[in-house]
């Protein structure tokens, strides 16, 4: 059934214009494959070439590139991912966002390596992509509906085993950090849901029956077997993560003081006894859920059996949201976290940004910057009912929720009064669940991440906290620049291959290179260095993209709180992040000049000459 010239690829790219309800199908260019691999790489190249510089992210000029990679939808473990690249309405710069589950494999089965979505539909629309064609269907009856109900209705209409991209009411009203939901997973960060909403695109339905060819069947099977074995014996992917999900690191982070509490005011979470991964496992987790082709099954179905949130459920809660709706808001009521996460999915809001903003709002209230009259109710840290209320207000744009849903950067800009010192974002994206004062590497990772504060461009916590035998000092600046740079390049490969980052916990770079070789047979990908070069090329191109949109070295920074305000207690007592030292070294290693711009020599070396 696979009928194209490249192994590992579907071989076609679909370009959709919502303004004219037209579409074009073209062969995936070979030079795009060789130089940019897939996923994030495709997004970087296509957006840099085709997006008008300075375009308004919520206008019809913005483009969404949804792309898979060679490993997506294969037997390779954790291959259920898919990437979305666009210009972010939250940050105004580069955005790539990744969704787990089953959408990526389905898109490849429908015959496409990528779909490029342009223009703006005149009325709410559902884009239906199947083996035999593309159609633009009326989405007015779904407009205003929650994401799970919408998907259920779409499934009834288009049959079992469809996969979806779907926005909720928050995306429809273009909340700046609205997400896109697919099954129980989603493209979380950076407001891709608002971009979809601005295009009047309620949902995308994908269904396909095509297969993926393998270049060297025996070799690839050997690699997959090796991968399964490695993932299964690793204490992380074969032990903690299958049992506790992403919360397997929860207690470690709290112990290290790297789990920020009450909007990063402290690293000490007193309620940890009643709110941790063991309680989750014993009381709330009901079953394990895996993404496509994944033996790790890090996802959980959770349900609340008693108390005021009885009956509420979610796929999760993930570590990030245990933090954002938990410790970040001083909240230890797990029931409310489960319900809060569910509501974020239903309305289509990024739960990380949501919780970050709520924590910020609570601090503003406690400091007297926002009054009870302005908000409508008291919102001290730990008030779980206020968290639920805020989620609904942000999704609907009610009261102070309208301002909150524009992100913490915009909110602090409007409030003034020194709030920028504790508005916890980088380049407009809210900081996730790790305090750099407990692991300096994360400070550099946030400051230099191409989409703003993000833990998935470099994740130094393995080396700084979790690795018992080869741990490097979390409070030192040495080696951090190298660590962050090498992770960023390698993660860019993983996100272009497109697989889950967790594959990286079980397989070495060499093994992943061999997987790619045996699957695709592409001769240009001989060594690990060849592969890493692709990652470095992509990371430099996304940098150029964001510089074109106006960022420079001055934006590669952290909020004042992390740089000047030491915590008063716990393992990180008295610590602030020494970012400057790491950043200087980082630019040096990257061959970026003082302005943070890639040097001509570096661009030439990466084959990006034309972007000088």
């Amino acid at each position: 059934m696979s009928n194209n010239k490249y192994f590992g690829y579907a071989g076609k790219i679909l370009t959709v214009d919502l303004s004219s309800s037209d579409y074009v199908v073209e062969d995936t260019p070979f030079d795009l494959i060789v130089n940019f691999m897939g996923g994030k790489g495709f997004g970087a190249k296509i957006l840099y070439d085709e997006l008008k510089p300075g375009c308004e992210p919520l206008s019809e000029d913005n483009i969404m590139v949804v792309a898979t990679g060679p490993l997506t939808g294969t037997l390779m473990p954790a291959s259920g991912h898919v990437t979305l690249s666009t210009k972010s309405p939250l940050t105004g710069i580069w955005l790539d966002s990744h969704c787990a589950g089953f959408l990526g494999p389905e898109l490849k089965m429908a015959g496409y390596d990528a779909i490029i979505i342009k223009g703006k539909a005149k009325k709410p629309t559902v884009l239906v992509i199947k083996d035999d064609g593309v159609s633009f269907e009326d989405g007015r009856d779904l407009w205003g509906k929650f994401t799970f109900e919408s998907q259920e209705l779409l499934r009834k209409k288009y049959g079992e085993n469809c996969q979806f991209m779907c926005i909720g009411p928050a995306g429809e009203r273009k909340a700046r950090f609205a997400n896109i939901v697919s099954g129980g997973r989603g493209f979380g960060r950076g407001g891709s849901g608002a971009v979809m909403g601005s295009k009047n695109l309620k949902a995308v339905v994908v269904k396909g029956t095509r297969g993926i060819g393998i270049y060297d069947l025996d070799g690839f099977m050997r690699m997959c077997t090796e991968a399964y074995n490695e993932l299964t014996v690793s204490p992380d992917t074969g032990g903690g993560r299958p049992k506790y999900g992403t919360n397997s690191i929860y207690s470690f982070m709290i112990e290290a003081g790297a789990h920020p509490v009450k909007n990063f005011q402290t690293g000490v979470f007193e309620a940890v006894k009643e709110c941790n991964e063991d309680v989750l496992d014993k009381k709330y987790y009901k079953r394990h859920i895996a993404c496509f082709s994944c033996p790790i099954n890090c996802s959980k179905a959770s349900r609340v059996d008693d108390g005021k949130y009885k009956g509420k459920f979610t796929e999760g809660p993930e570590y990030e949201n245990m933090w954002s709706l938990g410790a970040q808001c001083g909240n230890s009521n797990i029931g409310s976290i489960i319900y809060g996460e569910h509501l974020c999915d239903e309305y289509g809001l990024d739960a990380i940004s949501t919780g970050n903003v709520i924590g910020f709002t609570m601090e503003c209230f406690e400091k007297g910057i926002l009054s009870e009259k302005q908000i409508g109710f008291p919102v001290k840290f730990g008030n779980d009912e206020a968290i639920i209320k805020f989620i609904e207000m942000m999704a609907k744009g009610e009261g102070v929720g309208e301002l909150m849903s524009q992100g913490v950067r915009q909110m602090s800009k409007e409030l003034g009064k020194g709030t920028e010192k504790f508005a916890m974002h980088v380049k407009g994206m809210e900081i996730p669940a790790y305090d750099p004062r407990g692991a300096f590497g994360m400070g550099l990772a946030y400051a230099t991440s191409d989409r703003g504060a993000c833990h998935l461009r470099a994740w130094t916590l393995g080396a700084e906290i979790l690795d018992v035998r080869n741990r490097i000092d979390p409070f030192a600046t040495e080696f951090k620049a190298e660590l962050v740079k090498s992770q960023q390049d390698f993660y860019a490969v993983i996100q272009s291959a497109v697989v889950c980052l967790f594959l990286n916990f079980g397989l070495t770079q060499r093994q992943i290179t061999r997987c790619l070789q045996s699957l695709t047979g592409i001769k240009e990908w001989k060594t690990t260095e060849d592969i890493l070069k692709i990652g470095e090329r992509i990371y430099n191109l996304t940098r150029l993209f964001s510089m074109r949109e106006g960022i420079s070295a001055k934006d590669d920074t952290l909020p004042q709180r992390l740089l000047r305000e030491p915590t008063k207690e716990g393992p990180t007592k008295g610590v602030v992040v020494d970012l400057d030292t790491m950043l200087k070294e980082y630019y040096l290693i990257r061959h970026w000049d003082r302005e943070g711009r890639p040097t001509k020599e570096k661009l030439t070396e990466l084959g990006l000459d034309k972007y000088k």
Binding site: M1, S2, G73, T74, L75, F102, P105, M109, E160, N161, G183, G184, G208, T209, R210, G211, I212, G213, I214, L217, M221, Y228, T232, K286, R287, H288, I289, A290, C291, F292, S293, C294, P295, N297, A301, F313, T314, E315
Partner: protein, 128 residues
């Protein structure tokens, strides 16, 4: 013969992928002889033929399309009219229907090797 414990299934579909590689040399869950149906977020449903000794599907088929070859039940695609009476007759909901041909598919057991059973990370299957 494999019996699936639905409760254990995580929905990863590795069984489907390995099945398609084994029989078609490509990765395509839609060709698989085993099927996972999602009931997110709760229990998934596993569909796989148990290769019954007294199969109801054979009784139900008016076209003699299901026959025993080398000890294993098999569907003759030429005789099959996709009436799906066999699907209704199976007491174990064990007949997969192809999304491509709309015809029923029975597990051929990989000559008794059951690769899906071997690869299943959640150990969903037990043999009788």
């Amino acid at each position: 013969m494999p019996i699936a414990d639905h409760k254990k299934c995580t929905g990863c579909r590795i069984c489907e992928i390995i099945c398609s590689i084994q029989h078609h040399k490509e990765m395509n869950p839609k060709l698989a002889m085993v099927r996972i149906n999602s009931n997110w977020p709760w229990e998934d449903k596993v569909t796989i033929c148990r290769q019954c000794k007294k199969p109801k599907c054979v009784e139900a088929c008016e076209y003699d399309a299901i026959e025993r070859v080398n000890g294993y039940l098999r569907i003759d695609e030429d005789k099959c009219t996709a009436c799906l009476e066999c699907v209704k007759a199976c007491p174990f909901d064990g007949v997969v229907v192809s999304e491509i041909t709309q015809k029923p598919i029975l597990c051929d057991t990989c000559k008794g090797e059951y690769l899906c059973v071997k690869w299943c990370p959640a150990k969903v299957f037990s043999k009788t």
